[in-house]
Symmetry: C2
């Protein structure tokens, strides 16, 4: 098989093999399919941590310090930085990347940046695949970092066992900026820069918001079916100082407590089921989209005729969609 050499090396923990395979799955869904199918049995050992926060919340420093703390505890860490807001040029988080560059040289950290290069919905799928590669490569903890902007995070964090949102004292708008979608899937709120004035006020603001918001993760509309019977995890709030490392041990204790909660309540097995479901749906979406694209590309003249009919208003877009569905071979 084309990639078997690389895959063998990956499973031995070879860093270059991991990097090459990631590039391949990002750019080629057919290759991704082949690769994921053959490493799938070696996955499922990593713990996935989703981290987001408003710009200016000090995400890079926070992740650096958190990663250091994990490394000191003997863990191997993977970091995936996802930027769903950059569909065309990517690279918007380059500054962050450079600041985290120190890790490239370390043996126990693998860092990778991903942007939404016109994948149109495929970023969540690609992220899942990259997670699997890092998992098979031997990372015990995989940090998935994104900018805090909404629906994209909700999709990308589907895999995360624990979701952390970073806030800072002072920045009055950051709670609002992070928006409803993310709030509902957050397990731990971290107030970074605890040495700044207003840290306690920020903690109070979060508490207040949590009280106001009666619907959370395990009761939200989105996940209601799966979790309505479960006892809710009341999101924890913790202050840290990423520059000095203050309170990071406490933070890791909270993360452990959350893992314990997930295991004790059985939520973790629901998680796994939901993750597989949502991952399969992502792949399915991508495959169907590709089928539609292939169909359109190989029937350009016909499609052009239909478009002209829609312009003349003798056809409408809904009826045109039905025609294409029939062309796909699915009965209306």
């Amino acid at each position: 098989m084309e990639y078997s050499n690389l895959i063998t090396k990956l499973l031995e923990g070879n860093t270059r093999a991991a990097a090459r395979l990631i590039t391949i799955v990002e750019n080629d869904i057919d290759a991704a399919e082949t690769i994921i199918k053959s490493i799938y049995k070696s996955t499922g050992n990593a713990y996935i941590l989703g981290i987001t926060g408003a710009p200016g919340s000090g995400k890079s420093t926070f992740i650096s310090t958190l990663t250091n703390t994990f490394i000191e505890q003997g863990r191997k860490v993977g970091i995936i930085c996802v930027d769903p807001t950059s569909p065309i040029t990517g690279g918007a988080l380059l500054g962050d990347r450079i600041r985290m560059k120190q890790y490239f040289t370390l043996d126990r950290v693998f860092i990778r940046s991903m942007a939404n290069r016109g994948q149109l919905g495929g970023l969540a799928r690609a992220t899942e695949d990259v997670i699997k590669i890092l998992d098979a490569y031997g990372c015990e903890i995989i940090i998935v970092e994104t900018v805090g902007v909404g629906q994209s995070e909700v999709d990308i964090f589907k895999s995360a066992e624990t979701v952390i949102v970073l806030l800072v004292p002072g920045l009055g708008d950051d709670i609002q900026a992070i928006k409803a979608g993310i709030m509902e899937i957050t397990d731990i709120f971290v107030v970074n820069k605890m040495d700044f004035p207003g840290a306690d006020r920020k903690v109070a603001e979060i508490s207040q918001m949590l009280e106001l918001n009666s619907s959370f993760k395990y009761q939200s509309n989105q996940l209601r079916e799966e979790y309505f019977k479960l006892v809710a995890w009341p999101p924890e709030i913790v202050k840290v100082n990423s520059k000095t490392g203050e309170n990071f041990k406490e933070l890791i204790e909270i993360i452990k407590k959350h893992i314990q909660f997930l295991e004790d309540t059985g939520v973790i097995s629901n998680y796994l089921k939901n993750r597989i479901k949502s991952e399969t749906l992502q792949i399915l979406k991508h495959k169907l989209q590709k089928k539609v694209e292939d169909l359109i590309n190989s029937n350009q003249e016909k499609i052009e005729q239909y478009i002209n009919k829609v312009i003349e208003k003798s056809l409408d877009p809904y009826s045109m969609a039905d025609i294409i569905i029939k062309m796909l071979g699915i009965e209306k």
Copy 2:
């Protein structure tokens, strides 16, 4: 037909009929299909203006003043406020809505707010349908406003003939916050609050960014096929004061110049073709998704079995997706 009474009223310019039909198409894609099919011939007369900007850029005041200017010129205006970042609770832009409430009483303005209530990709589809209803209702100008966060806007602005991005002096991060995807589809940059210090500097910053960025709307990767032969529209930059109305006449002249450009170069007919194509694809995506959901819901036991196989690792998500595609009736 179920909605024929409402549709007749809509075409007569009845506001309540418009509001009710909008609620229906937002919540029910099957009803949307029936409604859009029967009003489709009465659409195509509105000019669509996409407006976005960072939080704090004064979007609401800007849109108020712009709308007033259009009304003074005798136009009927529709405003659709879309918030793609609020998947669950919506309502994050409620503040903005309230500030714009004055218009609800006016005869010549129809304002509507939409949030991404778990429609998962359906917001762009719903927005297209709402645009069509306002078009058939008689709005000559339809303003589609969103928060500036990336891919979602790019999808939602597919219909917009002219895209305006709002910036303000001082806010150093706003250019970066708006991100690459939106920059590439912007026709007019508006520096709001021109009376604030730094307005000229902001204009200079935008110019500089435009010079640095060599790929724009008509040459971007996304649209290259359609537009590579066309002369580019160099994005215009204009300063305004939304509180006093200063420079709004100039802004409207630039909008007119852009309309003229689109017509003279024939870009507008390409726009129409692309819009129909992308709209059909949105509908198609939604229909296929619904088919997949129906399939999954009516085969829950089977799907559960497959999920368990994936958990046991005797199956992987890619193979599971293939099985579902076969169940849909499409050959692998």
